[in-house]
């Protein structure tokens, strides 16, 4: 039998109280999720760093340096404003995908929608 698991929604804040540049931390039981408004776009990502458990909701948003075949193996500044830097020891995570730069590892990301004028995270 296929279980149709209902998604749980968490209303985080009214849209006008969650402007660009702001962030909130939500705790659902033991799980912590960091939610950001970056230039009007919302992102939600698992909130505990896999290294030594620092709260990612407190990380700064920056860009980072990439070097790959698309850059012709030259270093380039990229992802400006969308790289979440852990406030513990600076591991970097791509807010869009949850991918840790330089690691074969990915944090869970969550969809964020606006519903009835509330920023809402879908678990």
């Amino acid at each position: 039998m296929k279980m149709n698991k209902a998604k749980r929604k968490v209303a985080v804040a009214p849209v006008d109280e969650f402007p660009p540049g702001e962030r909130v931390e939500i705790k659902v039981g033991k799980i912590s999720i960091a939610v950001f408004n970056v230039k009007g776009e919302y992102f939600a990502i698992f909130g505990i760093c896999p290294h030594q458990s620092a709260p990612l909701s407190r990380g700064r948003l920056q860009g980072t340096v990439v070097c790959n075949e698309h850059t012709n193996w030259e270093k380039e500044w990229a992802h400006d404003g969308e790289v979440l830097v852990c406030p513990g020891h600076a591991m970097e995570f791509d807010l869009r995908t949850g991918k840790a730069f330089g690691y074969g590892m990915k944090l869970r990301t969550y969809d964020v929608i606006v519903e009835d004028d509330w920023v809402t995270v879908i678990l």
Binding site: R8, V24, K27, G29, I48, S53, G88, A90
Partner: protein, 389 residues
Amino acid sequence: MANSKDSIEVKRVEAAFNPVQDQDLDIYGEELRKYTIVDVDVHVDDTLQNMLPYMDGHFGKRLEAVLTADFMGEPHNSLRNMIAHVSWLGAAYDKHPRAKLATKEDLLDRMEYGIIDYSILFPSELLPIGYLPDPKWAASLASAYNEYMVDAYSNVAGVKIAIVVSPKSVEHAVIEIEKYASNSDVVTVSIPDVGVNPPLGDKKYWPIYEAAEACNLPVSLHGIEALIHDNYPLRVAHFPTLMQVHSMGFPFTSMLQVMSVVCEGVPVRYPNLKFCVMEAGITWVPFIMHRLDTAYRQYRTELPALEAQPSEYISKWYWGTHELEKLPKKGDLSKLLDLYQGHDTTMWASDWPHLERDLIAGLMYYDLDDEVRAKILGKNAIEFYGITT
């Protein structure tokens, strides 16, 4: 997995501009309360300016000149920073939250949270004295540092002091050790070991060990990123990135010094002297033990003073955990401890407040017997430093 019965809490937060600390993590709960926690590697960063009144004559003037240099917007930390980051400035793109320079107040605030029961204070700006070329300048800095630290931190609840000595000034080091031996808040002699040439097993340093043993003070070797110095083991010009300097600098220096002290027979000559190594991580410890044992089989005649394999001496050394490596599996730390027999000799160390400081969560990640965890978090340090609780 979240389920529908879980409570929900929403909190507005701000980016942290200083690195988060243990007290910023809410994952520990009551768990840590049952342990006596000794943080064996703690620093305050405002000692240079506070030492100034303790320095006379031309060395006082010289320190004044050092203090006026404002490096990376961090006046008063110039000595360490100048040597530290100039070659690789900007290479980390300011990713790390900038570590706030910690003062006595910050230290007391941290202790106030009640997570850490004891802090062992090691020098911060004075860690380069191992390679300051002028022995008199190094000795004068060490004297002023020790005097200031003992004035400022004796009788402060939970705080213990490592006095610093310069290996380039052996006679002066002996005087310093004897001077502070009877102060029960002074618990160890710190030798900054980077750039020290010849390495620390050499006979010229033996008076330091003799004094430390006689005064019942253990010796702590504390590294620093092997930066501008040009001595073995790392001629740093080989490294284009600070990451490489940092990764190799600490453990390579430590391996060199452990090898030198053991192979020159120091543990045989001073059997009651205890040693520990700070800030080099711990994964290399089994390597150096067994690597030396392998060579010992062939070259034993070069080391006739030894009465046992090198690993037997090294297994008695103590180790500060910082920077504790994150091994892939939760059971890996236990295996590592087995390899170097480290259950009674491994001591939790944070390196607070420096950028790389470890959070206790890094140790709690590992599966360990509760007794072993209690030893690493505090009991081993209480034994090593002779702290009376």
